[in-house]
Amino acid sequence: MIEFEIPKPIAMTNNALETVAINMMRPKSRYFDEHEHEIPWDYINFMHMAMRQTGAGSLAPEEKKKKTDEQGKERPRIGYQTLAFMLEMLSWGDTGMYLVTPGGGLGAAAVEAAGSPEQKEKFLARFKGEKPAFGAMAMTEAQAGSDTSAIRATAVLDKETNEWVLNGEKIFVTAGHKALCESDGLVVVWATIDPTAGRAGMRAFVVTGSTPGVQVTKLEHKLGIRASDTASIVLQDARVPFDHILGSAEVIKDPTTKGFKGAMATFDATRPLVSAMAVGVARAALEFLKEKLAEEGVEIRYGLPRTKLTNIEREVIDMEILLRSAWLLVIKAVWMADNRKPNSMEASMSKVRAGDIVTKITQRVVELMGPMGFSRDYLVEKWFRDAKISDIYEGTGQINRLIVARQVLGYSGRELR
């Protein structure tokens, strides 16, 4: 049955998260925007403690046995829905700060999806320890962004020591510095174990701060999300034990190993979460505008034909439509993930939509605030800068359009490049 009731457990957590957003994030937004590369430890420590207590926050909900209620009926899974709400709310607070929330992030999500039970045990325990730890995922290289098959980082097995030897340079690694230098975290590094095999040769390796030959060489200065560190990582004969490879070590015999596909499937699941973050930023901006309008005594009259609306009413109504429809598309995508329905198309649709609307809405709000929109007295100009990243990482708007188009057309990657 089609329904849209927010599940009760989500509604409850949401209230708590809103308090965090209002009290711990908003008051610090400007400071960490203006002090790039400083670390919001208060927020980090608080979230670490809170998430340890509640077990919330991991980007890949663990494969728990299906829960049943008293009558033995299965309770519906809502893990990804819970995360979408959480990320939306925290990004409404401050999306840059959300990105430094401890707990493993995309790195842990990849381990969760592609690791063996032993690997999960070994690598993920650190995120539940006394101190906050960070996870990161390093795919992008200078010559390989959207085209991930162009990565050049290599992993070669040293048969004598049974270690993988990694070489290469990764750029734009979100939380890479925090994972390697500021905590006992991990980075999942993509490298090829067979440069002649293309995608089939690509594997993910777990690298930690104690791995010899790993170095953070640069922290980027950015348009927005400045509270989030964006690191370059150089791997120079970096050695990790054999069992740090996620998925099978064999290439040619079995080019579509489950491990590789599993890791890719994580991205279908995490993509709508990035969309949820975008929606949070868009909501922040639109709500701010509506508040300011209300203070000025401007009321939005819903229900009138366009002819009778003022321009500002029209703008607000149109933005509400964009925002709400984007959010519901996110919900649909995560609802599908929770219900184990293939959601690759909806995940990318949500990303296309969210990337579009958050850039559009924040840009409009800056304009509609007049000269004050341009002022750093308010956070609107910051949200406008923060927003743009949503259209870039986790697949640019164009890459996600490609994915949607292939699904719509029934085309392979070869038929539609």
Binding site: I2, P7, Y302, P305, I321, L328, K332, W335, V352
Partner: protein
């Protein structure tokens, strides 16, 4: 909880309507549009699917309960076939649904059972007015209390099947409210004028209706002497219109998609060009997103949420824009061929423009 899955019953209904939409409505849409007329048999066949009958309780001759969610699912499928044909099949709902939602017990007993049990009959409603600032909540047509009844004056346009209608609900301003009044076909002062000439839905007969001192008894005021709330009727119209905008858009997107996969340009299929493929991706995303918005609004109506009216309004506004965006691009995907009437996309573009302004052409 969230769910995006129709019930089994709803799915069966959808499959039934979909078959009719594709095999009948769509198949005959071109001829009907050119002729400016829909075959009676086509409409009757749609009526026999029993959608409206299934939304009316047994006590009034039907065999089910009205659900806004079921309504939007069904309306999307009808419009996916053909907007004009779908609107024709649903025209009796313009009369029956407001009576169901807002009518007095007496009105329900009097009108619903004979309508539901008979074949398709032209019962209709007159809401839209010939003015730039048409607003269902601020009508120019007036109702004035006069002794034991009301007197109606004004001009209405786009009244489906007005020339043959057995009865219609005329909406008018009474004080500061929009109220419905039941007017039978031979009421003195009711004059059906010329057929309206329109941008789209050529096949649907729409008329000007003049009300010149039409007298209505108190008992024929919708809801009886006390009147009724207008919001539920307006919401029902908004949702149905929005759903039809989505259905029409989906038809256009799919047609453009299939065409683009066949059409050769520069040695590849035109769909293999990103300029075209991205348009299709955006069209599909738009439809999916606005459909979610619509479903939520319909669910709000069914669950009696206080913000339902606002969301029904947002859904229609969004769906009307989506229909324009999608049909415009569908024509673009076909290039010059899109401009030619043998290809349906130009018809969909014409039909797609009305959703924002023509609230009241359908109520389910």
């Amino acid at each position: 909880m969230y769910s995006f899955e129709p019930t089994e019953e709803q799915q069966m209904l959808l499959d039934t309507i979909n078959r009719y939409a594709v095999n009948d409505l769509r198949a005959q849409a071109y001829d009907a549009d050119e002729a400016g007329e829909l075959p009676a048999r086509l409409i009757e066949k749609g009526w026999e699917l029993g959608f409206l009958q299934a939304s009316i309780p047994e006590a009034y001759g039907g065999f089910g309960d009205r659900s806004a969610v079921t309504g939007v699912l069904a309306a999307e499928e009808f419009a996916y076939g053909d907007l004009a044909g779908g609107l024709a099949v649903l025209t009796p709902g313009l009369f029956a649904t407001p009576i169901l939602l807002a009518g007095s017990e007496e009105q329900k007993q009097k009108y619903l059972p004979p309508m539901v049990e008979a074949e398709w009959q032209p019962f209709t409603a007159a809401l839209i007015e010939p003015s730039f600032d048409f607003d269902p909540l601020d009508l120019h047509t007036t109702a004035v209390e006069d002794g034991d009844g009301y007197v109606l004056n004004g001009v209405k346009m786009y009244v489906p099947y007005a020339s043959t209608a057995e009865a219609m609900i005329v909406y008018a301003r009474l004080g500061d409210q929009t109220q419905g009044f039941i007017v039978e076909k031979d009421a003195p002062g009711l004059k059906v004028g010329e057929r309206d000439k329109t941008l789209g839905v050529y096949a649907l007969p729409l008329y000007r209706v003049h009300l010149e001192g039409v007298r209505v008894a108190k008992s024929d005021r919708l809801g009886g002497a006390e009147g009724h709330e207008f919001a539920p009727i307006l919401d029902a119209s908004r949702l149905a219109m929005a759903a039809m905008a989505i259905g029409l858009s989906r038809g256009a997107m799919e047609y453009a998609r299939d065409y683009a996969k066949e059409r050769d340009v520069f040695g590849v299929k035109v769909a293999q060009k990103q300029a075209i493929a991205f348009m299709l991706a955006e069209m599909a995303t738009e439809i999916e997103a606005i459909r979610c918005l619509l479903w939520e609004a319909a669910w709000m109506v069914d669950s009696g949420k206080p913000e339902a009216s606002k969301f029904a309004y947002l859904a229609l506004t969004g769906a009307a824009d989506a229909a324009m965006m999608v049909t415009d691009r569908a024509v673009q995907v076909l290039g010059g061929h899109g401009y030619i009437r043998e290809f349906p996309v130009e018809r969909w573009m014409r039909n797609g423009r009305g959703f924002a302004m023509l609230n009241g052409l359908v109520v389910i």
